[in-house]
Symmetry: C2
Subunit: 430 residues, 2 copies
């Protein structure tokens, strides 16, 4: 059984960078030798009275018929796996399947832990925040960004959110991220969020931008530990040739001992399973290494202290989905639908008045951002679109408006742009 | 849209006790006016481009066939509700159904909020800890207790766990809890956990003990704010006549302005749905009151910062289960099975050597605790049972061993007690 000094030593020995990044909570966390631990030890005995699950006495769930009748083949074939507690770290079969699903063929040798299963991607972010953020820790976030990073890292952990303006004249600038790392006090560890394809921008770096970013971060890691959180929520949704769709994680892993990428991804968008809440968290340490086991012990402790265990029902659904013949084709079909919407939106924007509709560079994901004409406030535009144009969009504050074209029909995108154009025109002439 | 000063003022005006109990995080939390907020405002427009869900463009999910084929009638009739995001506070229909399911007929007038949906009961506990616990806050926990309270309140929030020994000579003493509240520094707010039927003890107070506890807490609230967390995980599992099975929450609500009960319960044990992770958190404020809205705003913020939203798939399963005709009979059948195991265990214990097998008082729930003979350590006994008797039980440290009879067949309980008896006898004679 590991002890605090052991798990912390395993991390210090293998990764002084992670050791420097640990929060007070992260340092104290360690999976306790209590009930799930003791239950895991008793899994194979003939009389198992360890765990408070209501079973038939042989490890099978005493499910209500009113439950199992709703569930179709999931209940017929996998009732126990769907309705009993999941292991805290996640279903072992799902962890293996997801790792295989996400490992690019060229990265076979790269050392990565088995993904830990979380409650959607948000909990994976939240666990990393718990592990590595105390009050004042700098968290660099390319801006504009998903507002919930503020709640996860800033509000809950007291970290200091540092927005990094990556848009200059409506174009993406990779160097802004590297410069922001350099501008932090010398030697100070930083957390950096890399969300590509991004929410809200819908942008993924080109080959040259990727190289600039990756090589810049490798050099920056000479000066400080960097935890690079690759938030791959929109993984695979890239709609332009020549824009790499592979996660940045695989370009960063193993490049520098002080550059620690972690990979966060999930079934939410990749398998169109928003309500199932299945996310994954992968660390850049070889499977079964002492440091991987130590990090997992800490994460399991934090997971147990916040949600108990991940959702068995959803995990079993994901396992069966990943095993279904032809599922890759179905995923490709969804991507094609989104690709058609992407191109349709591009065309509608190209046809609109360029003084009114000024898109920020976008090439991937689910969103596009408009940079509103000078003098218009995005929140006022949002409310006006809601009140007078029967149209819902998201205001990001300032001059940015986000369009989620992933949830609009291809044939309605022209209307969407027309309505926004009319609204902006009306507001400018008032 | 509420603002910090508004939500905090609503709490201060309606409940100075809760105001005194708020943690720094609880005070800062407020549901932000970002994407879910803006999406909620746009629910009824004809062109909704607010939210990053992959839909058919009319609000229906673009589900993979590989997913929907697993799900039977849940997919046939409720695909969108099961697979799109849940509202952060939970499915409105489920919240209403669960409130009705749990409200005793006599408590119709008691003011209680609609339950917020959480990731199992653990997240409900964790949200209350976030809301009300800073470093050093006293959290009184009747002992022996479920070890995970330490992780949730102590490790994550830095609260000071105060174990309250409620067992004297293997009998439950309600007054110990009241005395522990009085022994805290005068005026200092306290958090108190009331878990009945309890884990690990499997005990619920008798009518007289309940009266002593409730009246004692009402008097103690004269001297300080008390947040009384009713952890009703094992609700309804009471196996002795004359032991009330109704939650203590309903006896505490509305009794004293400084005595704030919160109710935590869930589908986990009540509907035998361990892996679905559906819990509920209810506050003692009238539905739709300003203070209920303010508390919900804070809880939704904390929920969004940790898990995003609760599990839509599991919530829909619970809704459909609760609506199935005859489900109450099915639940009663499960309770009868556990009741038979309870009586069978009682009989086996009565037939065993009373010097070796000394059960602590138990009458409900899923567990029984043995007080081991002097000189035997529970962890050593656990390991010996595992190694030599093919039997898994849980050691609670010291002299206490927990038996989860909820997961052992009725006809095996005699063998369980025989094996423990043999093991103890062997260890004592060494």
């Amino acid at each position: 059984m590991p002890t605090h000094s052991n798990v912390n030593r395993a991390i210090r020995d293998a990764s002084p960078a992670l050791d420097a990044l640990l929060s007070e909570l992260g340092r104290a966390a360690e999976y306790p030798p209590d009930i799930p631990f003791q239950a895991a030890q008793a899994r194979s005995v003939s009389l198992n009275a360890t765990i408070g699950q209501i079973t038939d006495g042989s490890g099978g769930i005493l499910a209500l018929k009113a439950v199992s009748e709703q569930l179709g083949s999931l209940a017929d074939r996998h009732l126990d796996a769907a309705l009993l507690y999941s292991p805290v770290e996640g279903d072992p079969e799902l962890r293996r399947l997801w790792a295989r699903h996400h490992r690019p063929s060229g990265a076979a040798g790269a050392g990565s832990s088995l993904p830990l299963v979380t409650i959607g991607l948000t909990e994976a972010l939240s666990l990393v925040a718990d592990l590595c953020c105390d009050r004042g820790r700098a968290v660099l976030v390319p801006a504009p960004f998903w507002g919930n990073y503020r709640q996860i890292f800033g509000l809950r952990r007291g970290a200091s959110i540092v927005p990094v303006e990556v848009i200059r004249e409506r174009r993406f600038e990779a160097r802004a991220i590297v410069e922001a790392v350099h501008s932090q006090p010398e030697g100070e560890p930083v957390v950096l969020i890399l969300n590509f394809p991004s929410n809200p921008l819908g942008y993924s770096p080109t080959v040259d931008e990727r190289t600039e970013l990756v090589e810049g971060l490798v050099r920056a890691a000479e000066a400080r530990p960097i935890l690079a959180i690759c938030d791959d929520a929109y993984s695979g949704l890239v709609f332009e040739d020549g824009v790499p769709s592979e996660s940045l994680y695989w370009s960063l892993v193993g490049r520098h001992p002080s550059l620690l990428p972690v990979k966060i991804d999930g079934a939410t968008k990749e398998l169109v399973l928003f309500g199932a809440r299945v996310g994954f968290l992968t660390f850049p340490f070889p499977r079964d290494s002492a440091v991987a086991i130590a990090v997992e012990s800490k994460l399991k402790c934090l997971l147990r202290a916040s949600v108990g265990s991940p959702v068995a029902l959803s995990q079993r659904l994901v396992v069966e989905t990943l095993r279904t013949p032809g599922v890759e084709d179905e995923v490709a079909t969804v991507r094609e639908i989104l690709g058609r919407r992407y191109r349709c939106l591009k065309e509608a924007l190209a046809a609109a008045d360029p003084r009114l509709l000024r898109p920020v560079a976008f090439n991937s994901g689910c969103f596009a951002v408009l940079d509103l004409p000078d003098g218009l406030d995005s929140e006022k535009v949002r409310r006006r679109l809601l009140a007078d144009y029967d149209t819902g969009v998201v205001s990001l504050g300032g001059s940015y408006l986000r369009l989620a074209y992933c949830s609009v029909k291809e044939e309605s995108l022209g209307t969407l742009i027309e309505r926004i154009e009319s609204c902006l025109s009306a507001m400018l002439s008032e």
